[in-house]
């Protein structure tokens, strides 16, 4: 049986999204994307610096991946809407990873501005994937205004601390009727596996792969972890017991 991820009516075979930041080179980034078998890859949008132009990242990305522009750098709903519209007008997909982040220290998203921007972008025809704190009430409101997913953070961006907000994410997952993509803070494949075991629909990973000693092998490790976690979720993880329950027969001892 196929176990595809459906977002806004589009099917994906992979449940691992990749961010493209922080790689030592675009060649390594491309190799990691291929190893991860990700089908959704995020990019940021910035002004071209004509003094230091560098290479075009999109020429390093496989044609078949969906480019998901983010609105990083935006501190208000107005800025995020403007950036999303600029990206779409210029030919990028009308999908957007919505980030509204006024706080440079912990990079935590502004829930009020995110909701405002989400509503406006959905109204304007965008497929909106908002990056949020795992607030179950906010997640429902984002769903109600028509967001295609919710993307709760596990821990601050780039921290690699894992599922620090595990209990809240669990509630978001339990209540969501759109796919939940755990985004940010995952540092090791085990964190990704645990997210998937909890019932998350997908995870987004950037720093943990880009900053690994061997990013390509780590991309493969995250792919396997996501598959393992998803398979375990579908298999039904056992209930915990407070005390030991023997696996061998209690009687008939020699």
């Amino acid at each position: 049986m196929h176990d595809t991820l459906t977002i806004a009516g589009r099917e994906f075979g992979s449940r691992l999204f990749l961010g493209t930041g922080k790689y030592e080179s675009f060649e390594t980034m491309r190799a990691a994307v291929l190893a991860s078998r990700a089908e959704i890859v995020t990019v940021a949008v910035r002004r071209i610096d004509f003094d230091q132009r560098g290479e075009d990242i999109t020429s390093f990305l496989p044609d078949e991946v969906l480019l998901l522009p983010n609105t990083s750098g935006c501190e208000t709903a107005e800025e995020a809407v403007r950036m999303a519209k600029l990206a779409r007008a210029g030919g990028l997909p009308d999908w957007v990873k919505l980030e509204v982040i006024p706080d440079p220290r912990y990079l935590l998203p502004d829930p009020v501005e995110t909701l405002l921007a989400a509503a406006e972008l959905v109204e304007d025809g965008f497929t909106v994937l908002p990056y949020v704190l795992p607030d179950p009430v906010l997640a429902k409101k984002l769903e109600e205004v028509g967001c295609a997913t919710v993307m709760p953070l596990a821990a601050p961006i780039g921290s690699g601390r894992g599922l620090k907000l595990r209990d809240s994410i669990r509630i978001v997952v339990e209540q969501a009727e759109v796919p939940v993509v755990v985004d940010a803070g995952l540092g090791a494949p085990s964190h990704a596996a645990e997210s998937m075991e909890m019932g998350a629909s997908a995870v987004l990973v950037n720093t943990a792969i880009a900053r690994a000693e061997d990013p390509v092998s780590m991309a493969n490790a995250f792919r396997l972890a996501v598959d393992a976690g998803r398979t375990a979720f579908r298999a039904g993880v056992m209930e915990e017991e407070r005390e030991a329950v023997p696996s061998s027969p209690a009687g008939g001892r020699v």
Binding site: G21, R46, T58, S59, S72, L86, G90, L204
Partner: protein, 62 residues
């Protein structure tokens, strides 16, 4: 353009400016006086000396 003066050729369009800058391939995202310009219209939108143009593109990000 991107906060700097930029000479315009006679009859300069968004498309001709991007081509002169070597940006005709890939994604060049253009905003003119605060409004995004549709890629399909790059060849027909003429630029004026007073225009404020921003040219952006996708970069590495998470």
């Amino acid at each position: 353009m991107n906060g700097r003066p930029q000479e315009l050729a006679p009859g300069e369009t968004v498309a001709s400016l991007l081509a002169r800058l070597g940006l005709e391939g890939g994604y060049a995202l253009v905003e003119r006086n605060g409004e995004p310009v549709e890629r399909a219209r790059y060849a027909e939108v003429e630029l004026a000396d007073s225009d404020k143009i921003i040219v952006a593109r996708p970069v590495a990000g998470g």
